[in-house]
């Protein structure tokens, strides 16, 4: 076998290994929980959380952010921040609805940047009025040093973008007097 053939074969083995480097896993909810935000106002009422627009992750596909995973991260972030009295499973005084409208992921790359947009709506369930709504954009880049396997790097980029998004949303909600 010539040295050129050996090099070509080695390159193919590396390409296959990187493609098979692991199955894709969904963004983990605990990795999407926001750091405690600077709270301007807190509410003495409870809130329930509803999320839509997320996607399930298939093993051979790309890492995705699921409705359940994002909702859990949102609940945990609210609890950690103390923004509301408590997070109710359903029927809270306030309802925070989040629609994951955009998760722009790269097909491949050494540095992977995920750009995300979530439309949030906070409704007072007693009056039925929308007290706050906003389209929040965020992004996060995961580099080669963060994870060697592309599937893991994409998951980290997803988680970072979601975490930044939740953090920004809670900061804005805390600025309104409920």
């Amino acid at each position: 076998m010539s040295s050129r053939s050996v090099a070509a074969a080695a390159a193919c083995v590396i390409a296959v290994a990187s493609l098979l480097g692991g199955c894709a896993t969904a963004a983990k909810s605990d990795a999407m929980v926001a750091e405690p935000v600077a709270i301007a106002h807190t509410s003495s009422s409870d809130v329930s959380v509803v999320v839509s627009g997320g996607k399930a992750t298939s093993g051979m596909g790309a890492s995705q952010i699921s409705d359940d995973g994002f909702a859990q991260a949102l609940r945990d972030s609210i609890t950690k921040s103390g923004l509301f009295k408590s997070v109710a499973a359903s029927g809270g005084r306030y309802k925070l609805a989040a629609f994951i409208g955009k998760v722009d992921q790269p097909i491949m790359g050494l540095s992977m940047t995920v750009k995300m947009e979530v439309s949030y709506t906070l409704t007072d369930t007693q009056s039925g009025k929308t007290v706050w709504s906003k389209n929040v954009a965020s992004e996060h880049t995961a580099k080669m040093g963060d994870a060697f396997a592309g599937v893991a790097r994409l998951r980290l980029a997803n988680e970072g973008a979601a975490k930044a998004n939740i953090q920004q949303a809670l900061t804005e909600i805390s600025s309104i007097q409920l």
Binding site: L19, S52, M60, K102, K115
Partner: protein
């Protein structure tokens, strides 16, 4: 080139030959039938004029649509459309994925989205990708 090398070169190609997929989602209570006027904001990185293809297709679908470089339209519209096109090379460049979002013209909230992915062997022209993705969004 020996047989081992040939087989090795085929493997990545086989692994990258996935199926075409499409997805869409709609915000709770979003009613796209109410929308009449649209503006497609050009993605700053797009130099292929995909925004014009989207606007053209929306006009064919019976909506009033314009496009431009500004991220917000000069005059009020019912909805603003944004998109992200992803390209790959395989003999020639082709669009592997197109994402489209429809935003409320007044609030900027995303009302609906759709995405279509097509691998090399099932590639479509940019016009075909736009038509398929808008079909998914408005289905």
């Amino acid at each position: 080139m020996n047989r081992l090398t040939r087989i090795g070169m085929l493997l990545p190609a086989l692994l990258l030959t996935a199926c075409a997929t499409s997805n869409s989602a709609r915000a709770p209570d979003a009613d796209l039938h109410k929308l009449k006027t649209f503006y497609v904001a050009r993605l700053p990185a797009d130099e292929r004029g995909i925004e014009k293809l989207i606007a053209s297709r929306l006009n064919v679908m019976g909506y009033q649509c314009t496009s431009g470089d500004l991220q917000t339209p000069a005059s009020p519209v019912d909805a603003v459309v944004t998109y992200q096109d992803h390209w790959m090379w395989d003999i020639t460049m082709y669009m592997i994925k197109l994402d489209i979002q429809v935003h409320d013209g007044a609030t900027g909230a995303i009302l609906a989205n759709g995405e279509v992915s097509r691998p090399s062997l099932q590639r479509k022209s940019p016009e075909g990708m736009v038509e398929e993705t808008l079909g998914v969004v408005f289905k």
